[in-house]
């Protein structure tokens, strides 16, 4: 598969403002570390997607713990977390968390203040694409990262379309990088 900053769904051309490509996972670690209040928004496909011998959601729990990042689960994902004895700080529909993230007066998932970085993953491609578009245009100073395998042009930063192997290696590197820097 070619590494190119093209939307995964061919027709979803965004316009002038496109996501910067994540060339090295260390960049993501640095961005997360420099954020004051990051939040990880996790959708239901994270429980279906394989990462090595486990599911993506299992690795996301470790990433969140390593980075001290609160998780907001969308849709039925809260049940998947529950099965793993992990309680996200909040769960709500995907459109609700996006709608709150664009509101400067929202006090955040932990009620400590609005987030300055939202990391999205585990949703259907077009769902995440549209949420990121809403946040790009109406999210003010909020920055966004997509941790999915496919390029999300409306994010601030996204992987390009990469192979499963590269994706798994990148997620592992982010987890390790956050753990080392904690």
């Amino acid at each position: 598969m070619m590494k190119q900053p093209e939307p995964w769904q061919t027709a979803e051309i965004p316009g002038p403002a496109k996501a910067l490509v994540i060339s090295k996972p260390e960049v993501i670690v640095g961005i997360i570390r420099s954020a004051k209040r990051p939040v990880l928004v996790v959708g239901p496909q994270s429980a279906d997607r394989k990462v090595g011998n486990e599911k993506q959601i299992d690795q996301l729990i470790r990433i969140a713990e390593a980075g001290g990042i609160p998780i907001v689960a969308t849709s039925r994902t809260v049940a998947e977390f529950s099965e793993r004895n992990y309680k996200p700080v909040s769960w709500m529909p995907a459109v609700d968390i996006a709608n709150r993230l664009r509101d400067p007066e929202w006090t955040g998932a932990e009620e400590k203040g609005q987030h300055d970085l939202a990391i999205l993953t585990g949703m259907q491609y077009h769902v995440e694409w549209l949420l990121l578009s809403g946040l790009k245009h109406f999210g003010g100073k909020l920055k966004t990262i997509s941790l999915d395998r496919f390029y999300q042009p409306h994010a601030s930063w996204s992987f390009p379309n990469i192979s499963q192997e590269e994706w798994e290696q990148s997620l592992a590197a982010i987890q390790n990088g956050l753990r080392r820097s904690s």
């Binding site: 769904q9 403002a17 809403g134 245009h137 109406f138």
Partner: protein, 776 residues
């Protein structure tokens, strides 16, 4: 305009009780007092809209950063930049939503206009409106919006005149340099939606009153649905679209020529619905996503198109299977010669010989005769010639696949086509066949394939056996809801004891096939909600059976009642679902409907726990139908593809100030909790949708008993599907008596943690003019 003068002294004499009326005089015998907004203008209901939009704020998710609508553009509107005309992204997105709603509403209006003109031509302007013996409130939407009671077909022309003039105003507002505010664009969207509901009601009551369609009949007959229900040994005519008049003429011609049993007529989409309402001997193939698979399978000998949601490459596809096409609508001439004035004999000869791939015939009777005669002559020649490969050819074709993945990248449902293709190349076509369940039939995979592989055809061919076994029953569209049914359920709905009305409507752009609709519908039927449906959704629910081999229509009664499942009919029959909510206000609560839209919408929003679910919504018509629901106070849930409407209307349960209403008894402002929480909302999964549907049925007016019942369903579904208690229970418990008894201990614990306090249950309204004991 009406002018009343008690006493007027003039040079020519003294006039007492003088009344002067300018314009059309509508009936005087109606005891209901005329309300404040008969035939409302674009701005007459703006204040109501602004109230809704203040609580349910738009959240926009643009498709792209640009506006491309005028020659000053393209303009980059990223992050609230303004374009050359001065509009920002919020304005542009709301403008796009308004354009979509105008497209949808004008489509139903044009459909209604054609039907009314045709039926007046056939039966006369004085032909009576007759919706059935137990239906006194014959046109609840028209009564509420226009302030008139239509008695005859001719009265419907006046309603259409009004709608068309308003639609022109709305569309004009979308021109460059017109409306400047996104909120005002949104208000106009709601106006378009209300007009759309009115137009749909016009269309359906016209055809019900004139064409012998079931009249509010819960026991409407069963018809056959599915690929396998069509007897392809006979000459087969396929009708596609939404306007039943030409398809009805086909059935009439078959009847007149005594050809029943010798010619098969099957339909796709809403024409099929209405054709089985007209004559249940017709068959339904399936929803709109069944078009390509049925045509390419070679089963139709002739295809008749009318209007709306038809694949625009049908003539091309029909040529591949050597089936002629007759188009019958001025909205879709398909580039074909207009043969309306020609002799039927000559038209049939040209179609049968293949001299022309198709014709345009705008006279329905002539189209009906030509269709039957041509189909019967063509059938022996083409012998069900198909354009999909044989099972044996699948592997060879699949070997041409280079595995580039372009098909998957073009697929709206991200189906794993390359993997299935690789298996097919090795001789295992099972993975390919399994894709059909989730396939929406768009064939974008084929357009994307650089090797020219007809991917959709391969999928259809590999699933051929299961397709041919599709054979089910569907209860044909019943039409309206009887007044007596409303009388029976009005009180338990408003008090909350029937936990809600859930309407599964809309198109078949599903994320995971139609089975999710069945699962959701059955869940709420078993919970004794009132469950109703229309359009493609009403077809999809028929195509799955339970352990006993019964589908939903065979397993549950067709009444508008708790634990039942009704099919009202085609798209335009959606008006009966909105109409039922309005009839509750009229028949149960004795509210005056006449030109009284705002009060009725306020009633529905605060008291009628109804939710629309358009799980596969695709079209602009679905957008306008939803818009009409929003203005009426009925929330709409869409599936994940519905996010592509690019705008949600979302409440914020965390902002207490948004959830105050007036207590009409005292004028006090009272917190009622986020009920209903959203007006337009997209769910990612069916589990999420089910939880939200139960929640959105809660209304401020629920009695404690009713609220306890509704909470039971919401909490139970949340626990089962999300494996945890909801985190917002405290927002919906107003008094201790609201707590479901079986969940008392755990809920009391939650309430204690949240510092919950008892609240009043008001007589809720958002309209200060409805306060009886005024305090402000």
């Amino acid at each position: 305009m009406q002018l009343k003068v008690d006493e007027l002294r003039t040079d020519i004499g003294l006039f007492k009780n003088l009344e002067i009326t300018v314009g059309r005089v509508y009936e005087e015998a109606w005891s209901e007092k005329i309300g404040p907004t008969p035939f409302p203008s674009v701005v007459d209901l703006r204040e109501w809209d602004l109230r809704l939009l203040e609580r349910y704020k738009p959240f926009y998710m643009p498709f792209c950063d640009l506006c491309c609508l005028c020659t000053m553009g393209k303009c980059d509107l990223t992050k609230q930049k303004r374009g050359a005309c001065g509009l920002d992204m919020a304005g542009q997105q709301s403008r796009i939503v308004l354009i979509a709603a105008c497209i949808g509403a004008s489509t139903h209006t044009a459909h209604a206009r054609h039907l009314v003109e045709h039926l007046i031509g056939k039966y006369g302007r004085d032909h009576p409106i007759d919706m059935g013996q137990n239906v006194q409130v014959e046109a609840p939407i028209i009564r509420t919006v226009c302030g008139i009671r239509p008695k005859a077909l001719g009265d419907l022309e006046d309603v259409l005149d009004y709608i068309e003039s308003q639609m022109t105003q709305l569309l004009a507002a979308t021109h460059t340099g017109q409306e400047a505010s996104n909120v005002d664009f949104e208000s106009k969207v709601l106006h378009a939606g209300m007009l759309d509901h009115t137009a749909m009601e016009v269309a359906d009551i016209a055809q019900i009153s004139s064409m012998g369609l079931p009249k509010a009949d819960p026991d409407a007959p069963l018809a056959e649905i599915g690929f396998g229900s069509v007897d392809i040994s006979k000459p087969t005519i396929l009708v596609i679209g939404h306007n039943v008049v030409p398809a009805g003429a086909i059935m009439d011609y078959i009847d007149s020529q005594k050809l029943y049993g010798q010619t098969e007529v099957a339909g796709i989409c809403c024409t099929a619905h209405d054709l089985t309402r007209y004559n249940p001997k017709a068959k339904i193939v399936g929803p709109l996503s069944w078009q390509l698979r049925f045509i390419r399978s070679g089963l139709p000998d002739l295809i008749v198109l009318d209007e709306q949601c038809i694949r625009t490459d049908t003539v091309i596809e029909a040529q591949k299977i050597k089936a002629p096409v007759i188009v019958t609508s001025d909205k879709n001439c398909a580039g074909l010669a207009n043969r309306t004035a020609d002799d039927v004999e000559q038209i049939v000869a040209d179609l049968v010989s293949g001299k022309t791939p198709g014709v345009l015939i705008l006279n329905p009777e002539k189209a009906g005769e030509a269709a039957v005669r041509a189909a019967r002559d063509v059938a022996p020649k083409r012998r069900k010639f198909k354009s999909i490969p044989n099972q044996e050819e699948i592997s060879a074709i699949a070997k041409k696949c280079s595995g580039c993945g372009e098909c998957r990248r073009a697929c709206p449902n991200d189906l794993l086509i390359p993997e299935a293709m690789a298996q097919a190349a090795k001789g295992n076509s099972t993975p390919l066949s399994e894709l059909l369940t989730d396939c929406i039939g768009c064939a974008r995979c084929e357009s994307a394939c650089p090797n020219g592989i007809a991917v959709h055809s391969l999928i259809v061919s590999s699933a051929g056996k299961s397709l041919s076994q599709e054979r089910y029953k569907i209860r044909v569209g019943r039409g309206g809801i009887q007044d007596v049914e409303i009388r029976n359920v009005g009180s338990p709905i408003v008090l909350g004891e029937i936990p809600g009305v859930v309407a599964f409507v809309g198109c078949s752009n599903y994320p995971h096939g139609g089975r999710e609709i069945v699962e959701m519908a059955e869940e709420f039927i078993k919970r004794r909600f009132i469950v109703t449906s229309s359009g493609c959704a009403a077809m999809s629910v028929a195509m799955h059976t339970n352990e006993e081999g019964k589908n939903i229509y065979e397993a549950y009664p067709g009444a508008f009642d708790a634990g039942c499942f009704s099919n009202v009919g085609s798209c335009v029959a959606n008006s009966h679902i909105a109409g039922a909510a309005i009839k509750i206000a009229s028949i149960f609560a004795k509210r005056s409907l006449r030109g009284n839209y705002e009060e009725i919408a306020d009633y529905v929003l605060n008291r009628v726990g109804a939710v629309g679910v358009a799980w596969g919504a695709m079209s602009q018509k679905a957008a306008s139908i939803a818009s009409g629901c929003w203005r009426l106070g009925v929330p709409v849930v869409v599936g994940p593809h519905g996010m592509k409407y690019r705008r949600m209307l979302l409440g914020r349960k965390d902002r207490a100030d948004d959830w105050y209403v007036y207590d009409a008894r005292t004028g006090n402002k009272t917190y009622v909790g986020p009920a209903p929480e959203h007006l337009f909302y997209a769910a990612e999964t069916k589990e999420e949708a089910m939880v939200m549907i139960a929640k959105l049925c809660m209304r401020p007016n629920d009695t404690s008993k009713g609220r306890a019942i509704k909470l039971t369903h919401y909490i139970d579904l949340h626990k089962r599907l999300f494996s945890t208690l909801p985190d917002d229970i405290h927002l919906f418990v107003r008094r201790a008596t609201d707590i479901p008894i079986t969940m008392k201990a755990e809920i009391e614990q939650v309430l204690a943690q949240k510092g919950w306090k008892e609240q009043d249950i008001p007589d809720p309204t958002l309209l200060s003019r409805l306060i009886r004991g005024r305090k402000e």
